[in-house]
């Protein structure tokens, strides 16, 4: 009897611990008045919430509910409160099967057992005594371990303990100040957002110009719904400290981190949840042959109460395409695109917005071929050059707008219909830079390349390579061709000795650009270089 009394007192003491100090004034802000979301390229967003709260003059704990669950607590800042901030707390005792049982130690629960033969259900009142590696219960009969009998067993709890939150909660302690309504700003970084850009280009019939439209696809993979939010997108590469990089700088970073941060977080959460649930089922040895434990999967099959970001992989629900165009401005050294009006951004929603729409960009179309070795001939006897669309990102070409990195899909007109000519990836391209899109392989254009290698010099350290390209143009019309020859860095004193056509350098390569009439044509040149001693 004595032991039981002690057990209850212990339970009471544990329950009292997390409670906040008495006579503390708590003001809860249930939701934001307005919200702005700035989405960055890779899995990051800055959320700025405006909230109006009624503050008393006494020191107060302001509870900020309904924040995005993927919030980075160390980035959260409250501004405009007009009184000193003592501390800020972020609590996330997520509701999981384990936390539910752990926080219910000392609570009375019901254990329901089903007789496997008769189907008769027995319900017994029990108290949870311990939750560790396995669960121990106290009933009127005595102590028992849960899930150890081989019978179908189930626990029923009356309520969820208060401190277990389905959503994380931010709270700040503010010093005394002027009483009255106050508009404060809460800003924080959160994961689970991303955006990418895609371009659609339509070539005109003569392939001399194209229209270029840029679409931003933004994704909210969190479980939070943003109503009437201001949405901005930032293009450019920000320096972001990798996830998992711990406290001090002395901890080195693994540069070859292949897993993305989102994946890593989801995986760790999943593994922890699985471990936790498995541990709940630990028992004393139940003896060989091992009775197959009842396959109770109710905990392990994607717990509904698991942190939201675990479910990010779930298919995104809908894609919305909006008609208006985002407006660009400079933000420091990046580009910021502002959606012109407030918009609803649903949970697990993808939205598309136009950010660039140029009716006519002048382009050049040529076929390109590159050798990347001085002496090694190309692998195939017959090579096919690549179809390249080139333009300069300038107003003179009809463009002159920053191009955030993305995939360009180029369409051509064929018998009055649009056909996909090919697609190419382009990196961030500021105004003024040339853009070359390699969109496919040529049709009816062939190259035959032969090389003759010779050595000269007193110690035969000078390599002389005579290269000949025979070009076959079966297109029936003249084409533009660019042949480039790159030389490995370890050669020195590289020299073009002879060339059948004028040469210019391009990105360090030797390059020839010329028009090939229908039929056959030739390019011959000799390069020489010294081999390192």
């Amino acid at each position: 009897m004595r032991a039981k009394g002690t057990g209850l007192a212990l339970a009471a003491a544990i329950a009292a611990l997390p409670a906040l100090a008495q006579d503390e004034v708590v003001v809860t802000s249930p939701r934001a008045d307005s919200i702005a979301v700035t989405i960055y390229r890779d899995d990051l967003a800055l959320v700025t919430e405006t909230r109006t709260v009624e503050l008393p003059s006494a020191p107060v704990t302001l509870v900020i509910d309904d924040v995005v669950e993927t919030l980075l607590p160390q980035s959260a800042v409250l501004t405009d409160a007009a009184r000193p901030l003592a501390e800020s707390n972020f609590d996330f005792n997520g509701l999981t099967p384990r936390s539910l049982l752990e926080r219910s130690i000392g609570e009375t629960v019901t254990i329901t057992r089903t007789n496997p033969a008769t189907g008769r259900v027995t319900r017994t009142a029990a108290t949870i005594v311990s939750v560790g590696e396995g669960v121990v219960l106290q009933t009127a009969d005595g102590a028992e371990a849960l899930y150890c009998s081989g019978l179908p067993e189930r626990l029923e709890l009356a309520r969820v303990p208060d401190e277990l939150l389905a959503k994380p909660r931010l709270s700040v302690k503010l010093a005394a100040g002027e009483a009255g309504p106050r508009t404060v700003k809460v800003t924080y970084l959160a994961h689970g957002f991303a955006w990418s850009s895609d371009y659609v280009a339509h070539l005109n019939e003569r392939s001399s110009a194209m229209s270029l439209a840029g679409w931003a696809t933004l994704t909210n993979s969190t479980g939070t719904v943003f109503e009437q939010a201001e949405v901005q997108l930032v293009a450019g590469r920000l320096n972001i400290i990798a996830f998992g990089e711990g406290g001090s700088e002395a901890e080195p970073v693994d540069a070859d981190y292949e897993e993305s941060d989102v994946d890593a977080r989801a995986r760790i959460a999943r593994e922890q949840a699985e471990d936790d649930v498995a541990l709940l089922r630990d028992c004393y040895p139940t003896g060989p042959p091992y009775f197959p434990r009842p396959s109770i999967r109710r905990f392990s099959a994607a717990p509904a109460s698991a942190p939201q970001f675990m479910r990010m992989e779930a298919a995104l629900e809908e894609i919305t395409v909006t008609g208006a165009r985002a407006v660009r401005e400079e933000l420091g050294d990046y580009q910021l695109y502002r959606l012109p009006w407030r918009t609803d951004l649903g949970a697990r929603q993808t939205k598309q917005v136009l950010f660039l729409d140029e009716p006519s960009v002048r382009v050049e179309r040529f076929y390109g071929f590159r050798l990347d070795s001085l002496e090694e001939p190309p692998e195939e006897d017959v090579a096919i050059p690549n179809l390249t669309v080139r333009f300069e990102n300038t107003e003179a070409y009809g463009l002159g707008e920053p191009l955030p990195s993305g995939i360009v899909r180029v369409f051509e007109q064929y018998e009055g219909r649009d056909v996909l000519a090919g697609e190419a990836e382009v990196g961030d391209r500021p105004v003024g830079l040339p853009v070359e899109l390699v969109i496919g392989r040529a049709q009816n254009v062939l190259l035959e390349t032969t090389a003759e290698v010779d050595y000269e010099g007193r110690v035969f350290d000078r390599i002389v390579v005579a290269t000949e390209h025979r070009i076959v143009n079966n297109k029936g019309v003249p084409i533009e061709l660019e042949i480039r020859h790159g030389v490995e860095d370890y050669f020195t004193d590289v020299d073009l000795k002879r060339s059948s056509r004028p040469m210019r350098r391009k990105y360090g390569d030797f390059a020839w650009r010329f028009t090939v009439p229908p039929g056959e044509d030739l390019l011959r040149y000799t390069l020489s270089a010294r081999e390192p001693p």
Partner: protein, 465 residues
Amino acid sequence: MPRHSWILAAALSTAAAAQPAADKSLKLTIYNSNLALVEHVRPLTLAAGRHRIEFAGVSAEIMSQTVSFTGAGLTVVEQNFDYDLLTPEKLMEKAVGSRVRIVRTNPGTGVEIEETAEVLSTVGGVVLKIGDRIEVLREDGIPARVIFDEVPPNLRANPTLSVLANAAAPVNGDVTLAYLTRGLSWNADYVAVFEEAQGNVSLQGWITLTNNSGTTFANASAQLVAGDINVVGNEAEWWQVYNFRMNTRNNANVRRAGVESSGREQLADYYVYPLAQATTIANNQTKQVSFLSAERVRANRGYEQTFYGFASQQEPVSAEVRVRFSNSSAGGLGDQLPSGVVRVYARDARGQPQFVGEDRIGHTSAGSDLALKIGDAFDVTIQPTLRQTTQASRRDTDYDMSYLVRNARSQPVTVTIRQDNLWRFNEVRAESIAGRRTDADSFAWDVPVPANGEAELTFTIRQSW
């Protein structure tokens, strides 16, 4: 109220285990490296004699070998960390030699039969003696519940520390329990709002405490120690040290280490940040406390890029954007900065602060010059071209490089280009802009680029081995 009940429980308990009341004071010293020193002071009343004193509510991540227990008039006989958490397995182990009840359910008929059994062994399987028979529990796979008469008193739901101590005379005073624990850590986080037009940055420093120790520390007086203390077993591997050195060398954001001292409290060679008020650090909580606030610290922005080796590149390389400021008192800050992440914000066209990148700093002494890398410039790019390599002699090679710097911004910029990792003997033979030697194997040039324009840096470096 709990105090009385504890004394009562201790007095009546036949096991003579004394349990001190709740913490009278709780002190925490938290280090950067997932380590904390915890000191509980609890009142205790004991009669003279030998007692087992139990401490509940200690950290679940306690390093039990570091426990120290002191109390006036008490001599420690032995100290145990009974990690005897109550689990089904322990429950069965403790039942060896005693009787339990077995309720078997016939899977065919559903009839339940209850028998009394003696537990003989639990190693590898539970061996039971039922009447005259010896059986292994559930060897036949038939569902069988085991009912224990009671939970053994020394098995608990939480990790418990127990100390066996001698009291020469009755004790009515405070006992102190101190230990190191994992699961508590802190680092600094900084919010830097960069006002480019005004040429300054406002910096706010937050201490971020995390508690994953499994225990809530209520009303603790906490102090935080900044500095990397050596912890045995935590030493980095050689390759980690190498990687760290390379990383520090290549991305160093401290350009000049400071020599100023601040008025902060010091402990050995480390700085101490005491928290002003007693605070409750709940389990799974992240707590932030402000420790630094500086307005209008002089700051500017710079572009730079370092190249290793000489090579042409097909794609332009973006220049790194660095926000530069000093934590010297002359610059307007005058405080050392504990290790942490600095998040930089800049204002958009509407005046709203927007996040523009972050960088990690190490423990930085006051008076240091910092250059935080916040990202890659969208509009400032560099196109490197190796124009020619010439063998000047058997050992000497000349590299003729060109760096075409393009600036699509509407303001002129200056980009610092560094050529690093040169061979042992190196010299600049020709250069289009006067550069400078930055160390034994690197040179740097500051390239001014007009607004919406470009500039080319060319140089020839001779290096030999």
